[in-house]
Amino acid sequence: MKRLQLQRWSSSALSSRARTGGRLQRHLYSSNRFQSTNPTPLQSEADQSFAEEPSIPSTTTPSPKFTKYQLPSPPIQAARESAKLAALHARLYLPSRLPLETLARCLVDPSADSNSQFNNVPLAVLGHDLLTHYTSEHLICTYPRLPLTVIFAAMFAYAGPKTLMAMAREWGLEHAAAPGGEVDPGFLQFKRVAPGTDTNAEPLIGTTRPNEDQKTWRKSITSSVVYDNEFGDPDMAGVPSSESSESAIQTQYTEGVTVEQASASFVRALMGAIYLHAGRPAAKRFFEQHILSRHLEIANLFSFNQPARDLSRLCARENYEPPVAKIISETGRKSRHPVFVVGIFSGQDKLGESVGASLAEARTRAAVAALKGWYLYSPLNVRVPSSMEEKGAAPWKPVYVDLGEVIV
């Protein structure tokens, strides 16, 4: 009976109404981790089964035989004993101000532990915002003329979940087969998706876009700035939280997540943790060393449909002479393998040139080269706005802002 009383007491402390509490509550969470109830149905069943047993004295520490298996994720004390965790900390050159306990918390996915006091959701939200903020300001300041679709693709390439998963793999992160309190905290704790689940059949309900049920309506690229997320995908998280959506999130977590989602949330949470514990400069350094140092060929992200038309619209907009395609050199015109070198000229100036096996191909490729020359303009001595956050930064000079992409 004592046990039941304790449950009632701790659940009232954990309820959303009582979460305004300060130090005392936090102390309770950190020291008496095993006393917290868990909202997952599996756990409550376990609680009931334990409640039927002869009662354990609640004031003293219960024997670890029960608690370890009872917990959804490793207890906080285990972080200091894990060699794997310490090795990961040292391998990533994390600042010493970031404690091992926080690193262990970054490794707990919400599908393993749905209590947001112990999983990495709050850190991942912060880290995701930081990652996308730094990436987007870098992209927009370095290539101010990039079209929006290419910016979305580049954002995905730098900070998308696929890249974050690859990073976590290159950091030597290992996954736990199943989450639990007895697992080494150095493993990534998440509940896997059941085999045979169709991951692509995602219902696009609950996005921020109005009239989302109208499948035939055109979705403009400009509207995705407002309604979609950083990668141009439908934004699910922006829904104002209510009881129904929270229950939806709960079911989503209990269903399990893919390795990609879990690894991405770990990297994001780590970014957020570094920001909170070691400060902004350390977070920025971490971003530059691990994300920005990766190689991306931005010129390969373009896929034009009608480049010649786009280029003539561009020249009309910028008041240049209309572009004319001219043959610079050619060989083997009537043979099996002709080669044409075609340049696109606007007045006396050459805008782009390319090689093709037919005149049409060479002309199209030259138009693509000219458009890339326009879009991939990069100013000298690029500075990003967040560089002003450092102390003693040079006075800010406005960056180059372009008119926008060509609209046909």
Binding site: A299, V324, K326, I328, L359, A369, K372, Y377
Partner: protein, 200 residues
Amino acid sequence: MAAFITVSKRPILGLPFLLPSCDSVSLELRRSQSSYRRTKQRLRVKPDASFGLSSDKTQDHIIYNPPSSSPSVYHTPTKFLPSDDIRRSLRTDTTADHLNTEGLPSVLKSPLGKKYHLGPSDITEIRKLRLGDPITWSRSKLAKRFDCSPTFVAMVCEAGPQKKEIQKQVLEAVQSRWGAKRRMAREDRKLRKETWGRDE
């Protein structure tokens, strides 16, 4: 090149490919040159004239030797640079293309030029003709009559639903006679065309 020819110990006629025009006499005089020494000697070419000292030999100069490769897309053309970019003034004289742009032949056979000679009344007439008798007034015929391009006719008006249906049936009839080879070749051609826009 001229300097090389004067310095060279070999008679000029032995090196026919160095001459501006290979006449038949020099071709007859050429003999088999297969030894290692001769090949190495042939490769001992003097550096480009721009690599040497300048004519006055008083000051340092910049060697300008553009790469013999297709230009990179990261190298923004001077015309596309904003007016306040410093690279615009740096590039003015030296890197000007030596191409004579006037003399180059155009890719398109007819000189491209937009005339803008059709008014709203012409456009309404095009629409009326096309909707009224789409079989007689096809796009090409309308283009010929109004002296514009078929693309312009397509931009101005759309064919009626009956004409679209007929055209679809015609296309299906033609495509039904294609075999596997032709169909595959057509699909490949379409895929290849898409790679042009991706620059692959």
